[in-house]
């Protein structure tokens, strides 16, 4: 029963680009109601992991299930269950905000009779009501980012995957987006909780909204802990981040150390 399955269950996810091992044997799971932060330096493999979960690139090895649907066995159902904001928002500059969201709702299989409602709700949630008829190409960067976010939630998916969602937003909007993510994961009575994964380089953002942190370094998971435990000893997230990512843990580096005199 997919309703009881964890929102995301990844096992042994691996992605190789030629010689580059972008993600290496990555296993984790995310439950409903959780907001998980993906942390890691540039090139750590955050985007690649998200792309595998969303079906944009297939893993070289390993697999994952989204809301109980295997990304290989039932790719359409898995993709239907995900809302995804890529690193650069996937927008058609010539479309109006509203027209674009209606299009996305259609290809995400939102039934025709509730499509209008779905578009209105996501416009409202992302603060886009005033610009709904504007052409996307004429919007400021921050507003385009909001349209990208609106696109990710328009079909009300059980799993939300956001790649650096607050880039380019003003402080007030960042606050709103953060509370949106929190509401999305743990909504009011009667609504089913959802799962959110976001990648970010802003550590205070993680402290503000994530209950759990997954730190990725050179394609590997080095930390997977509730935030409260991670900073329990009085150490700051910066300190943990700095310590964990200063070590070279790549396969090549290990070999080099073993061979060293």
């Amino acid at each position: 029963m997919s309703g009881d399955a964890p929102a995301i269950e990844a096992s042994g996810l691996t992605k190789r680009y030629g010689e580059v091992l972008a993600v290496d044997d990555f296993t984790f799971s995310v439950g409903r109601g959780e907001v998980v932060g993906f942390l890691g330096p540039n090139g750590a493999g955050k985007t690649t992991t998200m792309r595998m979960l969303t079906g944009f690139v297939p893993p070289t090895d390993g697999t994952a299930t989204i809301a109980g649907h295997d990304i290989f066995a039932d790719p359409l159902a898995a993709r239907r269950a995900v809302g995804y904001l890529p690193e650069s928002p996937p927008l058609y500059p010539e479309m109006s905000v509203e027209g674009y969201l209606r299009y996305v709702a259609t290809i995400k299989d939102v039934p025709r009779r509730v499509r209008r409602e779905a578009v209105d709700r996501s416009l409202e949630r992302c603060g886009l009501v005033e610009v709904r008829r504007r052409v996307i190409g004429a919007l400021s960067k921050g507003f385009r980012q909001r349209v990208g976010l609106a696109q990710a939630i328009v079909h009300d998916p059980p799993v939300l995957i956001l790649d650096e969602p607050t880039v380019g937003l003003d402080p007030i909007q960042i606050q709103e987006i953060r509370s949106l993510m929190a509401d999305f994961a743990a909504p009011g009575e009667g609504e089913t909780p959802r799962a959110v994964i976001l990648s970010t380089h802003i550590l205070p953002e993680v402290e503000a909204i994530c209950r759990r942190v997954i730190l990725i370094h050179q394609g590997r998971k080095v930390i997977d802990q509730p935030l409260s435990e991670l900073i329990a000893g009085g150490q700051s997230l910066e300190e943990v981040f700095g310590r964990e990512t200063s070590r070279d843990i790549s396969a090549g580096a290990e070999g080099a150390m073993e061979n060293a005199p």
Partner: protein, 265 residues
């Protein structure tokens, strides 16, 4: 397959807010008018000359279809080689450049829905182009009596050639994120298709293609021109229709493979 129309609808709307669609359609209509007029003038001059020389037997054999509509549609065919790559260059390339490919491929769409949707959008556009061309022989039906069957079969030929070019152009657009490269790649492939019979001729006379002329025959068969000519003459043969279906199908399959390969790189 229910999202083929969704993908096509968005593409057509985008095509019509961009200048490309209007530039191509306007140029197409202007050139059609120009070639129709010049063929009409040539037709009249020919008639007058024949009458002057008292060649009344020949005058009787002269008809609107063979001496006006056919050369007119033949001219429009050549323009297609420039016009269609302009229409199709953005089909897939712009999705890659915008990053919207990531949206398409992470949505519950099948690759077939994406590829056929794009092709359908191009098909609707060339249907419009064919309608523009149809307008001119249409005038002749008011003032003269061309054969309807022959005219319609010629228009069908023009449409099939256009659809073939859309398939080629879609493929060119699927292998790059640069629209200019997509344009010239499509143009190059279409030019090659156009020159195939000449290359075959050259090879056959030089004997470079071997004793059996199978290679030359194959090249002649592959070129669009001979099949189009049959239709222009009013000969609707399943072999020619099969040719168009074969080439369109091949290039749609190639586009699908190219889009799919994004996943497997």
């Amino acid at each position: 397959m229910r999202h083929v129309g969704t993908v096509a609808g968005r593409e057509i709307r985008s095509l019509f807010v961009s200048p490309v669609a209007y530039v191509v359609l306007t140029l197409w209509a202007v050139l059609a008018g120009f070639f129709f007029l010049s063929n009409l003038i040539a037709f009249q001059t020919e008639l007058v000359r024949m009458q002057q020389f008292g060649a009344f037997d020949m005058v009787r054999t002269v008809n609107l279809n063979d001496h006006l509509i056919m050369p007119f549609m033949g001219s429009m065919w050549i323009i297609l080689i420039f016009a269609i790559p302009g229409v199709t260059m953005g089909l897939f390339a712009s999705e890659k450049a915008n990053g919207t490919q990531e949206l398409l491929l992470t949505s519950p769409l099948t690759i077939w829905e994406i590829v056929l949707g794009k092709f359908l959008a191009g098909a609707v556009f060339v249907l419009l182009m064919t309608a523009v061309v149809a307008f001119f022989p249409g005038i002749l039906f008011v003032y003269g009596d061309p054969e309807l069957g022959k005219t319609l079969s010629g228009l069908l030929g023009l449409l099939l050639v256009s659809l073939t070019y859309v398939a080629v152009g879609a493929f060119a657009s699927s292998v790059t994120s640069n629209q200019l490269i997509a344009f010239f790649l499509a143009f190059g492939v279409l030019l090659l298709f156009l020159m195939m019979p000449f290359i075959a001729e050259l090879g056959a006379t030089r004997g470079a293609l071997g004793q059996e002329a199978t290679a030359a025959d194959l090249m002649r068969w592959l070129s669009t021109g001979s099949h189009f000519e049959q239709l222009l003459r009013g000969l609707v043969d399943t072999a020619d229709l099969g040719y168009f279906a074969f080439v369109i199908g091949t290039f749609i399959l190639l586009s699908k493979a190219a889009i799919e390969s994004v996943r497997w790189r």
